[in-house]
Symmetry: C2
């Protein structure tokens, strides 16, 4: 792969692991980062437990250019992300006047209470992130972006966050779909992948309307190589007598 910028994602929450809540942020982030030229390389999901969060965030921030965390920055007892990030960085937590101001604006001065004030306390030295939907600010400390878990809020914050990140070369993918089993073309695909070492070629079988098909996804930062690989795949499929369709590049 010839993409220099990488990211890791840490999803924090018992509700994801128990199956109560279906995780919805990884796909959003993976796609948005790829368009921005940042490759999401690893995701971890851990419980609301400080030791687990500290260990995971320290492993990820040492490995990838950027780390995003989701979940656990609300006002209740099970929201322990901020204190866990502070522990991971060996820093204290500080009340940030600007965050208090935003919370007062949102809840009204008479609506402030201890639980809401908790959301104005972030890791010392962190930068507040803009949250256009609710008042709880996410924050950034070094290469770690601490975000809320509610998908609607995360999505609203994402454009602002991305605009502050350095641009990599966008990672695009083109999918070729043919009505055959992947095991019929495995050897040819191996050769095509070898011919385009800087691209990722993935093979994904599926069943639709009781027919077996395979989607071949060509992904990478080199537009010319990607088009060449797609053409090679289409020709290969036609030698099998299989018609193929090319989906729009994303």
């Amino acid at each position: 792969m010839r993409n220099s910028l990488t990211a890791g994602l840490l999803i924090i929450g018992n509700e994801i692991l128990s199956g109560r809540t279906r995780e919805a942020n990884q796909q959003t982030l993976g796609e948005a980062l790829a368009r921005h030229g940042i490759r999401l390389k690893e995701t971890r999901v851990v419980e609301d437990r400080q030791e687990a969060i500290v260990q995971a965030v320290n492993a990820l921030r040492a490995t990838y250019d950027f780390v995003f965390t989701t979940g656990g920055i609300g006002p209740t007892h099970d929201d322990i992300t901020t204190e866990s990030i502070a522990a991971a960085f060996g820093r204290v937590i500080q009340e940030v006047p600007e965050a208090v101001r935003r919370l007062r604006e949102y809840y009204g001065a008479e609506g402030m209470n201890e639980a809401r004030l908790k959301m104005a306390r972030v890791v010392a030295g962190a930068h507040l992130l803009d949250n256009p939907v609710s008042a709880a600010p996410g924050f950034r400390i070094e290469n770690v972006y601490v975000l809320p878990g509610v998908p609607r809020i995360l999505q609203a914050m994402l454009p602002g966050i991305l605009s502050g990140l350095p641009d990599g070369v966008p990672i695009r993918s083109t999918s070729v779909t043919g009505w055959l089993r992947e095991s019929e073309i495995a050897e040819e695909l191996t050769a095509i992948q070898a011919a385009f070492p800087h691209l990722d070629i993935g093979s994904y079988p599926f069943v639709r309307d009781n027919r077996l098909g395979t989607s071949l996804v060509v992904r990478g930062t080199d537009d010319i190589a990607r088009v060449a690989a797609v053409n090679t795949i289409t020709e290969m499929l036609s030698t099998h007598g299989v018609e193929s369709s090319i989906e729009p590049t994303v």
Copy 2:
């Protein structure tokens, strides 16, 4: 937590990290394991890269009672899970006659090719798992269960796998939903969690029909404590003048 059996999940596949494919197995596995008394404690998603797979599976199998992997056991070049698991265990890969027999039965003797035979090669010493849908067998080696990524196939294999696992005490949860903001009850919730240390009490805000609500999820293996905690929460909500509804226990 008083649940002795734990599990980790390793999801293998570039398509999940890039956002092309929405991950669908974690929720299925998390729920099924909880019903069986096994707590899913951590999930990792890694790329189709041997080093990443080896590192993750070795970390997880040393930490949890059981590890499940999904994805990467098909016939194509990007299916590298089996060789990566072999590397993690320091073992070779062997063709298993029983697996060849199942593949021949599925594809027909004339339909066998090198790519399909690849699916009959598993880590030496592994036990084949039953796959009622397609012919590619998953396998188990020590405490690691290597499963396909296609949700429909994984779901079909799950009952057979679970029946071979030791039973823990089922982890059940009861949700209480009230129409208020979680920040209004955060302090009381902290006290209730402290009163029931063996239960997990989670607070999840939501917006429905333009109204703000909070779901309080009480989860654990102790049925009597769970009922008591739910009653305490319901009473607490009523002191706020909030009507609450209790969802059926799952």
